[in-house]
Amino acid sequence: MTSAGRQLWGAFADARQGLRSRRRRALLAAVGVALSAAMLSAALVIASGLGSGFNRAVRAANLGDLIVRFDPQPASTVAKKLDALPDLSGFALRREVTSLQISFGDQSTSNAVAEVIGSGRRQGFALIAGHGLRGTAAGVLVEPALASAWHIHLGSDIYIRGLGTQPVVGIAEGPDDVGYPLAAARVYVSLAYVNRRFGRDSNPYVNFAEVWLRNPRYIDQVLVQARDESFGLQNLQFATQSGTRVLIDQAAGIVIDLLVALSIIALATAAVMLAVSSRAEVQRRLRAIGIRRAVGATRGHVALTLALETLLVAVPAATLGTLVGWLATYRPGDRLLALLNEPGPGAQLILPLLACWGASVLIPVIGAAWPAWSAGGRAVTSLLRGADVARARSPRWSRPRRTRGRGGSLTRLGARLVAARPTRLAATVTMLACSAGFILLMIALASTLSSLATDPQELGKHYQLTAGLPPSDASTVARLPGVQAAQPRYEVHAVDGYSLGEIVDVIGYPRDNDEFESPPLASGHRSHGDDEAEVGVGLADALGLVPGSELLLELPTGRQLQLRVSGTVNSLDSDGLVAYVPAKALLAADPFTSSRIAVLLNPGANETAVSDELTKLGAAPQQASTATARGGPLVAVLKRILLAVAIVDGLVCVYALTQACTLTVQERRSTVAVLRACGAGGGAVRRLLLGAVLVLVVPAAVAGVLIERLLLGPALSNLAVSYATLDLQATAADVLVLIAGLTAATAGTVWWVARAALRESVVTGLAA
């Protein structure tokens, strides 16, 4: 065996011996590595899965470089214009039929889209199950989100109005839009089959074109040329791949960017924790290192032994943790991606997970080897002296301190024992604070999501029900038991009067709308009088409106509504493209505007009983709509993901606390033993440990709340939607949940570490 081989073998033997003699400590280190690895891999699965989902979908579906929508035109006319484009590689034409009724079992929607497709090779969607549409044979393809939501399987029969019952022959994923129910349900139908059913049309009308270029880098030039060539096409809309991505990200709401950002924080936290714990372990063993050096071990041998010892612990722990993190998050992640019409990462995750595993092994190994190498270079005498206790040399520590209660003194002593390692204290508090802020953000986010899904008040809607009755019945409804007030709520869709093509949801109340509906004011003031309107921030951004601007809307009657903007409001309805106008002005422009009666209930009134009364009046009562009414499944999946990541993060917090406390007790075994020799029982030891934990938890909790409220919450409040600001700052209730969790973690840590400390013989502790 060569000299290097002998040295390696010797270090390996020493490492194994070291592990055998410190089994409990090795187990604790392994738990830390496993938890960190779990956190890393969970973060990675989410970040990699969601962050690259759209690119994967584009590749799988071979999505066109350019998507063009327009009013129906003969296919030959469109083809001629497309053929004139430069750098053209190919195109596919299809007809999108909207507002179609489809049903399956008990499920039904009247807002579905049927894509009538030709026989081209490239269609811009990926077939992920079953087979494609075959010539004139019956059969449809459905998107996976619809199949999942309605439990449709291959071979199932779905009803499509106009085509009758059709067998589902395949599942197709089209990344140009999100899936049902975030968007309209989508099915794909063969043009050949439609021709067979309704007679051959040699030049069918199309309203959708997907265009592939030879070199997508020239997309800007092609777009310019396409606009020049598009004369004769009405309502033309172009979308590039990047534009489609933006639209999908918007549709997904608080999804991708947020989770990716949170995952990156988790990655950093896990890395810090691994490094800190490894460094602390070396610090604890300085005397052992000194002894090895004193008996002739080289600096390299010392570092190699520590590295191998850590390696032996980290490899199995990192493997287990990586697997656990992956198992905890890949299913919810895939479900979320399916809602976005994007494929799961599948085997693509193998390399990133291997990298995660490698990082989980390497960070602790380097974290142990480097300080060991560094310590090995110090004077042996200093190592032999320095391993016993920390020596804080600041003169201020030498001043006698007044002490108050008996318990307080022990608690304070515990805190001072931890504070004697200021670097470790700072690193642990920083890590705990980041984790606490992170967990708090997830709690706030989950609360906001729940509120948006269940509480109309989040949208500023104070009424609870609407009734399908004429406006004249408002006074009758107002007299019903449990009803506080009732008013007609007029609603119509208008287009902006500046020819920008924005569809605006126009809402009007006969009197001041504040009582029934008042989304939070973003700027300006509430509207007063018949010539003022409040507009959503989305509409204000689209039309460049500010308080004092003139709002010009074109109603379906063709008449215009002209009002002055009094203020902008944070409305999540209709992507913020909403205007609250006086009913008098609205009715003057369009006397036939549809309305329902908005019903405001007394506090504590029974909503079901009022609904029953309204039904007796012949109204069809409906609950006030929420922001995520269509996004229920998305919210459910998101909450599951947030919960999984929060639980892993919470466990990491508990581990970090336990580790810091255990290390302190291990380093101060003699101190604990002296206390016990002086007559300290279990209660006194627990008070000592309580101080040790509180000095970590209290500043971390305060910093965590500040981080969330001042940094994370505000930073992410605009990320979800550009047209409104969501309040993601933790509420008092959220903070209480965090404090409850930290209190439980503190109690558990104190109990666990005290149990271990009290098991040790006082004599052994005194000899340490």
């Binding site: 030498s398 006698p400 301190r401 318990g407 001072r416 004697a420 300290a680 029982g681 004599v763 005194l766």
Partner: protein
């Protein structure tokens, strides 16, 4: 399993200083640990100030130590983060400690000539000063029994003599001092020898550390 102590029988009276001599490994420290309830013997019993220590749960044994026993260690065992005064105050702040600890601590520190260095931390003190603080800590709750394990083992001759004089002049207490230094035994009223776990020249009956 190795038999460390066997057939040991010892009774110590109030105001008596008993020195136990022995070579390294003879079982001196083990005897002291058994007497203080830090180690449990396989057989036999220990009674301190009328309270039986053996067979008690660790919490109950801790209460006996708090009220009746003070330990002095060879390595002083002062807590690095605390000043000399705070180290002395530690036993007074344990749950169940007698009242008036702060006053007694101040008196003891004054008596032992430690007032000028009371606010110093252990690494700023000499070995003799550290051991005197350790003795003050052992005395602060007014125990009836002081158990000293090689109290001069880490001190030079001059400081060792000061410490021994302190132990010799303790009033109203029983002192058991284990040491391998014959000079230390000079302060004892009675000198016993421990040889391979057996206490020789000790015809005193059962181990009964009464007042």
């Amino acid at each position: 399993m190795r038999r460390v102590l066997g057939g040991v029988s010892l009774a110590v009276e109030t105001d008596e200083v008993v020195a136990v001599l022995g070579r390294s490994g003879s079982g001196k420290s083990t005897l002291l640990h058994v007497l203080g309830g830090l180690d449990a013997p396989d057989a036999g019993r220990v009674t301190i100030a009328g309270e039986q220590l053996t067979g008690r749960r660790s919490a109950a044994a801790a209460r006996v130590r708090l009220r009746h026993i003070g330990f002095v260690f060879q390595q002083f065992q002062l807590i690095e983060e605390l000043s000399g005064l705070e180290n002395v105050l530690v036993p007074t702040r344990l749950p169940g400690a007698p009242d008036g600890g702060a006053r007694r601590a101040a008196e003891l520190i004054d008596e032992l000539g430690l007032t000028p260095v009371a606010s110093h931390r252990p690494h700023e003190l000499s070995g003799g000063e550290q051991q005197r603080f350790a003795i003050a800590r052992a005395l602060v709750n007014g125990p009836e029994v002081i158990l000293a394990d090689e109290p001069t083992g880490s001190l030079d001759a001059a400081n060792g003599a000061v410490v021994l004089a302190l132990l010799a002049n303790l009033r109203g207490r029983a002192v058991v001092l284990v040491t391998h230094e014959t000079e230390a035994a000079a302060i004892a009223d009675r000198v016993l020898a421990l040889d391979d776990g057996a206490l020789v020249n000790s015809p005193d009956g059962p181990v009964d550390l009464r007042r």
